[in-house]
């Protein structure tokens, strides 16, 4: 099922003109700085904002077509919306909040599915509580469950973690990962955090000043230096897809990816399991010659593809390793000392590999 979005609107001196298409389930991140128009886009998709010109369709269901004079009311769109604030109904219990949308759908999910979602988000012990008594993280989970239970065809998430502190974010993120991997539901996830994009997104749409500045898979886009320039953030590093190739006697697991092999502390999953792996730019060191005696397990042979702009004393180096893009952040001084320039072959020493638990991108199995 594809989701087509085209919007055009002017607000004073700010113009919104975007067009994109989401072709499969999983998380599509709408990424960009504050004020880029991300929330306006999801509000238009939800029907809470009506653009001067636009067309929005989920599969063959047209929700908005200003040319044809079609505009489906928000309540009939079957689009779940998790707002920046939880927006729980304060006069209802957690359970009544969850049942609010569930009761109002034409084909409500069965009781088993209700229990399934309540379980997945760990809400069973909270059902009887008043919403005022919940912690920030609990409120976010209730808001997410409430939206899921309205049986949406598309889920909108507007910076659902923005109001939470670091610890609460860490508490919620795994639920989003589970949702991405288990729900066969397309999601549009608004964020300005590279960390969230690299951890959660399958697809990324970069929005800047009301325009789509770039789009592509997270694997392609996040690892690209041009992306961070565009996003106006320091480069995150690389997001890559790897699969378990062997379990070694040394207690390590070997992962193979398009460009080499990575060794990580043992993960008890069968060979062939696909994993999402992140290599942060500051966790990669560069060497001109093959390092001999070195404690790092992972040394990859790579080619310098580009040298990024300098920020303070650091410079980001775009590397190519087989078909995979990597980014290393080194100091300007090191770059000059090693004479690093595009085309050079180098050894990338990976100090740390972050492995996200997932079975693989949607549609890949």
């Amino acid at each position: 099922m594809t989701i087509d979005v085209f919007l055009r609107h002017e607000f004073g001196n700010f113009g919104l003109d975007v067009s994109f298409c989401i072709e499969r389930p999983g998380i599509t991140a709408l990424f960009g700085p504050s004020g880029a128009g991300k929330t306006t886009i999801v509000n238009a998709v939800a029907g809470l904002f009506r653009p001067r010109e636009g067309r929005i369709a989920i599969g063959d269901r047209v929700l908005l077509d200003t040319e044809a004079g079609v505009c489906v009311a928000t309540r009939l769109r079957r689009i779940g919306y998790v707002f920046q604030e939880p927006r729980l109904f304060p006069h209802m219990s957690v359970e009544d909040n969850l049942r609010f949308g569930w009761r109002r759908t034409k084909q409500p999910a069965g009781t088993a599915e209700f229990a399934g979602i309540v379980d997945m988000l760990g809400l069973a012990p909270l059902l009887a509580r008043r919403t005022a008594r919940l912690s920030g993280g609990e409120k976010s989970r209730v808001a997410l469950a409430r939206a899921l239970l309205s049986s949406p065809g598309l889920l909108l998430l507007d910076e659902p973690l923005a109001a939470l502190d670091g610890a609460r974010k860490a508490e919620i993120l795994p639920y989003f990962e589970r949702l991405r991997d288990e729900a066969k539901l397309p999601m549009l996830y608004v964020t300005h955090s590279v960390e969230e994009v690299s951890r959660l997104a399958d697809h990324v749409i970069v929005v800047r000043e009301g325009r789509v500045a770039a789009q592509g898979t997270a694997f392609d886009l996040v690892s690209d230096l041009a992306f961070s320039t565009l996003a106006g953030t320091p480069a995150y590093g690389a997001v890559l897809e790897a699969s378990i190739s062997a379990q070694q006697d040394s207690g390590l697991t070997a992962l193979s990816f398009d460009g080499g092999t990575l060794l990580i502390p043992r993960i008890d999953r069968p060979a062939g399991t696909r994993l999402r792996v992140r290599l942060r730019a500051e966790d990669i060191m560069l060497a001109r010659e093959a390092p001999g005696a070195i404690s790092a397990n992972n040394v990859l042979l790579a080619t310098v593809a580009a040298v990024g702009a300098t920020a303070n004393a650091a410079v980001d180096i775009q590397l190519r390793c087989g078909g995979t893009k990597l980014v290393a952040r080194i100091t300007r001084a090191s770059q000059e000392r090693l004479g690093i320039a595009p085309g050079h072959a180098l050894y990338a020493i990976v100090k740390s590999v972050i492995v996200d638990p997932r079975s693989g991108p949607p549609g890949a199995d």
Binding site: A46, G47, L48, A73, T74, R75, L76, R77, R78, I79, G80, Y81, F83, E85, R87, F89, P90, H91, F100, G101, R104, T105, R130, T131, A132, R146, A147, S150
Partner: protein, 228 residues
């Protein structure tokens, strides 16, 4: 404990105030909803106009009612001829006068509680499939309940004390329009009526205190129910 005349005045007062506040409630709610979340010059103007009964001398309100609803005024004559509804020199007229004068109390309390409702909740309800009426009855109304309750009690308490508009509009007829304040006034007009007036004042004060206590209690209950 109460003489028949006293209990007549007391119960008439309660009946007049009860009908007054519940009669004015739908109007207060409707106007509060119309004005809620508008930030225009029109709102300020409309609010000023709707608060007039509170700031006008009650005798002016009574006079205006008389020239509108009196049996010889066009509207009053029409109501009497077609609906058999008479306000002049009738307890219903006392309720109308009290309701009109205390209407701004309800409007204000409801308006404040409507303004305090997070607009996002309505949007959330909309994305969850709730239409306008559904949202009104299941989100807006329950969340405005504390304001409605506080407004009702405040208006009721104020209505018990209405004097000027009632006496101007419907006169001071024992058993028909002579509410507590009017009974106190009449007692004071009679030689040696001070003791009677003092007794009636005592009831008045007790009633007012009871009203304030009930308003506080009910407001707390209602706020507790919506978790704020």
């Amino acid at each position: 404990m109460l003489t028949p005349a006293e209990s007549e005045a007391l119960f008439l007062s309660l009946r007049v105030s009860f009908v007054a506040v519940f009669g004015a409630l739908p109007f207060a709610l409707a106007f509060a909803l119309l004005l809620a979340r508008r930030r225009s010059a029109g709102r300020a103007l409309a609010e000023g106009f709707l608060h007039l009964p509170l700031v006008l001398p009650p005798v002016v309100v009574g006079y205006l009612l008389l020239v509108t609803f009196g049996t010889r005024a066009p509207l009053g004559a029409w109501l009497l001829a077609h609906l058999g509804l008479r306000f002049a020199f009738d307890w219903k007229g006392a309720a109308l006068a009290s309701g009109l004068i205390t209407f701004p109390f309800q409007l204000r309390a409801i308006g404040l509680s409507l303004d305090a409702i997070d607009k996002g909740l309505g949007q959330a309800a909309e994305t969850l499939g709730a239409g306008p009426f559904d949202r009104f009855f299941n989100v807006t109304l329950p969340l405005a309940a504390p304001g409605i309750v506080v407004g009702l009690f405040t208006a009721f308490a104020a209505s018990l004390g209405e004097f000027g508009a009632i006496i101007t509009f419907v006169s001071n007829i024992p058993g028909e329009t002579q509410t507590l304040p009017l009974a106190i006034y009449s007692a004071l007009q009679q030689p040696g009526g001070e003791a009677e007036a003092a007794r009636l004042c005592g009831f008045s004060i007790a009633l007012a205190l009871l009203g304030i206590a009930l308003a506080e209690f009910a407001g707390r209950r209602a706020r507790g129910l919506i978790g704020s």
